[in-house]
């Protein structure tokens, strides 16, 4: 039988170990995603370079990263590099903050993985900007760098936000894979509670509830960002949070109204 009181306890009176695991899940996701966006931008720019070498290197990077499982990448970066004595992640202490080696490896791998996906999202968003925009920028004497900063990126940013939100949602759930290299995040905490109590269903249901909480809160934040960044003329057409979670209206008249 499902032990409701154990489940309720796990959800509403989490142990300090659980809270620490939750916090790790959050900050690892946020830092890895942020790095993924920044690196992804550079890879996207490299793929649009007029020189062949950066194009080829960036293309190769995306090919390898997207073509291999994150779980394998994690084990290679943390265990593989250490086993061959190439690199061993050391604990790092800066001031009062200490960052264990395994978490550095976790953040780095998640970020490098995310970079490949973000670069494709950013590249597609840049390609989607009307070619007349680049021509207008050229005709005004803008250099490629100025064109990128003042004309292309601001317009691409709007297109990037919805898939970026998706990526971050996936990222938070991907952190559960970090348990295999021994990061004490939420999933590994649940596992250790499980091996002590054998309340398998209850404790993993509690973990699921927490992941759902994280992604739900993020859903609110994403909707707010999209509203803020949206074209004022299209504002009415942005899906509300309710539409996003429980399925949208069958038709979205606002989208047609806003179309040019």
């Amino acid at each position: 039988m499902f032990d409701w009181s154990f489940f309720g306890d796990a959800v509403f009176h989490p142990s300090s170990q659980w809270v620490t695991g939750l916090w790790r899940t959050i900050y690892i996701s946020v830092v890895a995603q942020a790095l993924g966006v920044v690196f992804g931008l550079f890879i996207a720019l490299a793929r649009r370079s007029r020189f062949r070498l950066p194009r080829a290197l960036a293309g190769g990077y995306v090919w390898i990263i997207r073509g291999t499982p994150l779980l394998v990448q994690l084990v290679i970066v943390y265990n593989g590099l250490a086993a061959t004595n190439i690199y061993r992640f050391q604990d790092l202490t800066v001031g009062s903050i200490s960052l264990p080696g395994v978490i550095q490896a976790a953040i780095l791998t998640l970020a490098l993985n995310e970079t490949a996906y973000m670069s494709e999202i950013i590249r597609a968003a840049l390609d989607a900007v009307d070619s007349g925009q680049t021509e207008a920028a050229k005709a005004l004497g803008m250099t490629p760098a100025v064109t990128m900063r003042t004309v292309l990126l601001p317009q691409a940013a709007r297109t990037v936000i919805p898939p970026l939100g998706n990526e971050f949602n996936l990222m938070m759930k991907s952190t559960s894979l970090l348990s295999v290299i021994g990061v004490q995040e939420m999933f590994l905490t649940a596992q250790s509670i499980n091996s002590a109590t054998f309340k398998t269903f209850e404790i993993f249901a509690a973990a699921a509830a927490y992941y759902l909480l994280l992604t739900t809160v993020w859903g609110f934040i994403q909707a707010a960002i999209e509203r803020k960044l949206g074209d004022p003329g299209l504002r009415g057409s942005r899906p509300s949070f309710r539409d996003r979670v429980f399925g949208g209206r069958g038709t979205q008249p606002g989208l047609l109204e806003g179309a040019r």
């Binding site: 207008a136 005709a139 490629p144 003042t150 317009q155």
Partner: protein, 271 residues
Amino acid sequence: MAASIVSSERLADDRPVLEARDVVKAFGPNRVLDGVSMTVRPREAVVVIGPSGSGKTTFLRCLNHLESIDAGTIHVLGEPVGYKESDDGKLKEEGPRTVARRRRRIGFVFQRFNLFPHLSALDNVAVPPVKVLGVPKDEARERARELLARVGLADKENARPSALSGGQQQRVAIARAMAMRPALMLFDEPTSALDPEMVGEVVSVMKELAEDGMTMVVVTHEMAFARSAADHLVMFDGGKIVESGPPEQLIADPQHARTRSFLSMLHASHA
């Protein structure tokens, strides 16, 4: 009338603003431009007409290197655009930064406006001089306001392009090009994407510019504009200039059969 918005600093002498010689441009086996030459002196307005596919838009785009050329030379204010001559006399394309610098003195107005949709009308006009010429922000905004007022859009400075009509967008686009204080303005069929009732407002802005002494090359079929504002009318056909001259003469007494048939066709469609 308000003070002239055309900068006069570069018009001191009479050397050509634009000098194109024997420009050749091919797309594959198709010679779109087959040896086109044109000289435009300060304060001159040249109107280019011709059937579609005659190469007139391609020629205009070559003038600020939005298209590459295969042979010939293009000089604006005495400087080559897009190319430098290498030691063996061949044309060598310049890097994007040098090309960008050359383009600063050449304004370009597109058929489809190409305003920046994420910026207000004011910022469309004010941002390029800040980013490209390093003009201080306040100065650029002040001049942008003047220019918007000149094209009759003083009350629209906060509007995004999506909230403007086609005619209004094109007037903002003209103001945007003028904000760079160009020595030469190029107009690529500026009224052909507009609803008929909006053509007039754009043509009158262009007319004012011509009267103010702006040097310009205009690809258009607005013969009323050609007649009243152009110093030269140039007829393109098959990638060549088949005929050119003062507009009233060319319209009244075209020498070339192609010009005659093209003008009568234009006349018929506007009647």
